[in-house]
Symmetry: C2
Subunit: 339 residues, 2 copies
DNA sequence: GGGGCATCCGGAAACGGTTCCACATTCGCT
DNA sequence: AGCGAATGTGGAACCGTTTCCGGATGCCCC
């Protein structure tokens, strides 16, 4: 309703001065500024972001593309991003990119191509070169959190190291028959993450001199609690050649595994040690040993990078881009030495 | 980069005609339209939504405020909303309104007050009158999904009936000592939902002639799996006066309960029947009897209403606003007759 | 054959801000 | 005293669309 012209008139100044007074850019006498602010408050003036972004080219808005919102890790990242963005006065528009179907192309070619967002944060999604080129062409900063794709800025946990760390924990306890429940490379889950964790597992068992295949079995399953459950049922079904320890690619899978073990009368950790990765909110309840990562914090970090990228004044060439995100082994009660 | 003027020049028409040709509004010769479309495609023209919304007053964008993204129900609703909105060509900006702190006021007074969104969907949040007035003043349609607050459009499950249905299922099986794990009225969880489910429970046990308090105990807990876990441990700790059935206010709480029972050596369902509500993705794995609601569908429905509200051409006064959202009792293996 | 209507198109005025430029004033400094 | 820089302000252009208005057709039908 109220436009800046109204404010200007009420304060007895020009639109230009009113704009300067309210935005804080350019010279304006303190006295004038106060008059303008009072006038704005009086008529409840709120600037139209559309008009502003039309001329400045900046909407204060970043797009977030994310494959799930209902896996704990992703939900947590999203919350972290949202909080940080809101704190910085930015809006967040959400693109839930599930499968790489036709909807996916539409998001890139239609939604993101419009001038709606200043930048894009892609979490846990493998971008193909056409997609990053599409963003690149519009000069939209892109930061990737996990996943692959040649983005300018990339934040990532060292998933190979995570897999290795988890596996070594089991090895140090004395286990020699270790299984790995890997995430299925399915759908939107970034293959890189899966692959790296698996690689870490293989590296660790190989280094321990355990022959892959026989004593270090890998089974793929959906990266969720039911996925872990059915996977574990399958893996633990043969009493004779059962592993004594299991490394699940995510905490949710580990929960499913624990439940499956209970079903089968297998005691955790006496008969089976279980370790996961994520640091899930429920890990404490399950007493789960896990390699924590901090998804909320990761989201916050991604926002930091985006904001810095948008603030070309500080043209640092991505200072910390190299270091992997922090992780930590937290030992609880689902792992112990084998019987 | 490319503006509509460029398209017009290339096609040899005026900006006005180019706009009409591309938007489909107004008269334009088929031949001309094709020429304009070809020109637009050639230079990769994409309309600036900012400029358009500046003049039309319509951004194709709706705001969604939601207390959590990481509770299954809310995540599912959000996904449903997102899909539907995207399908209709709308963007979704997310406001994660956790606690009613200062951040909350900021969302309403700053973020939503700007002309960024055409409408607001509030899911599971109790709006106070100041907040709905604030939206009302800007003539932004508001549809509420669950929660309370005097919105024009309200979609809601009949939570009292849900509570009653769940409890009656237990009663019909012959249980006479039934506990209810209620959600804590904490933080952002809409009190109305909790209250209504609890009321349904009380109505049902009262109708069955069971004295409240003694044989129909209610315990509050956080509405999550660990919340259900600790709540159940407390509730089932005294072997003497233990209930034979438990109605959990959400499936996640029910999962926690099941796990607690296993810990305590209580067999489900032989020694304890458990029923939840939600129709959680994991319910099948837990074999959980539950009252399903369909959050994804609810989200889709909310979008339908919003879209209709925005399309004032069809000025239906909210046709189906009265009927509660569908729910369904799904019986699995966590409930049975008492021993 | 001519009035009315539907169709087609272009000029120009919005929409609501920001910013460039020009102009005035004051201030600090030699 | 004089001059450049810093400060303060207003006019006007501009961002990229949509839409109003008005003119120019062509067509139907009386």
């Amino acid at each position: 309703m109220a436009a800046i012209g109204d404010v200007a008139r009420l304060a007895g100044v020009s639109k230009a001065t009113a704009s300067r007074a309210l935005s804080g850019r350019g010279y304006v006498a303190d006295d004038t500024r106060r008059r303008v602010e009072a006038a704005a408050a009086e008529i409840g003036y709120i600037a139209s972001p559309d008009a502003a972004s039309l001329v400045t080219g900046r909407t204060k808005n970043v797009g977030v593309i994310i494959p799930f919102v209902n896996r704990w890790f992703f939900g947590e990242v999203l919350e972290g991003i949202e909080r940080a963005l809101l704190g910085a006065g930015y809006d967040l528009t959400l693109y839930n990119l599930s499968e790489p179907g036709p909807g996916r192309a539409r998001v890139f070619d239609f939604f993101l191509a419009r001038k709606r967002v200043d930048a894009v944060i892609a979490v846990g999604v493998d971008l193909d070169e056409h997609e990053v080129a599409s963003l690149d062409r519009r000069e939209k900063p892109l930061v990737c959190l996990g996943g692959s794709g040649g983005a300018a800025a990339r934040l990532s946990v060292d998933d190979r190291a995570v897999g290795q760390l988890a596996t070594e924990h089991l090895l140090h306890l004395g286990h020699t028959r270790i299984a790995h429940l890997a995430g299925a490379g399915a759908a939107a889950m970034p293959a890189s993450v899966q692959g790296q964790r698996r690689r870490g597992f293989l590296d660790a068992v190989a280094a321990a001199g355990i022959p892959a295949g026989e004593h270090a079995h890998i089974l793929e399953a959906e990266m969720s609690m039911p996925g872990g459950h059915t996977g574990a049922l399958q893996l633990l079904g043969h009493p004779g050649r059962r592993p004594t320890a299991l490394f699940a690619a995510s905490d949710e899978m580990a929960f499913g595994t624990i439940r499956a073990a209970e079903r089968l009368g297998i005691d955790v950790p006496a008969d089976l040690s279980v370790i996961g990765v994520d640091g899930h909110e429920y890990a404490e309840m399950f007493e789960l040993t896990t390699v924590e990562q901090y998804p909320g914090e990761q989201g916050r970090l991604a926002v930091d990078v985006v904001l810095r990228l948008l603030d070309e004044a500080t043209a640092d060439p991505l200072p910390d881009s190299g270091a992997p995100l922090p992780t930590r082994l937290v030992v609880r009660s689902t792992t112990s030495a084998p019987r």
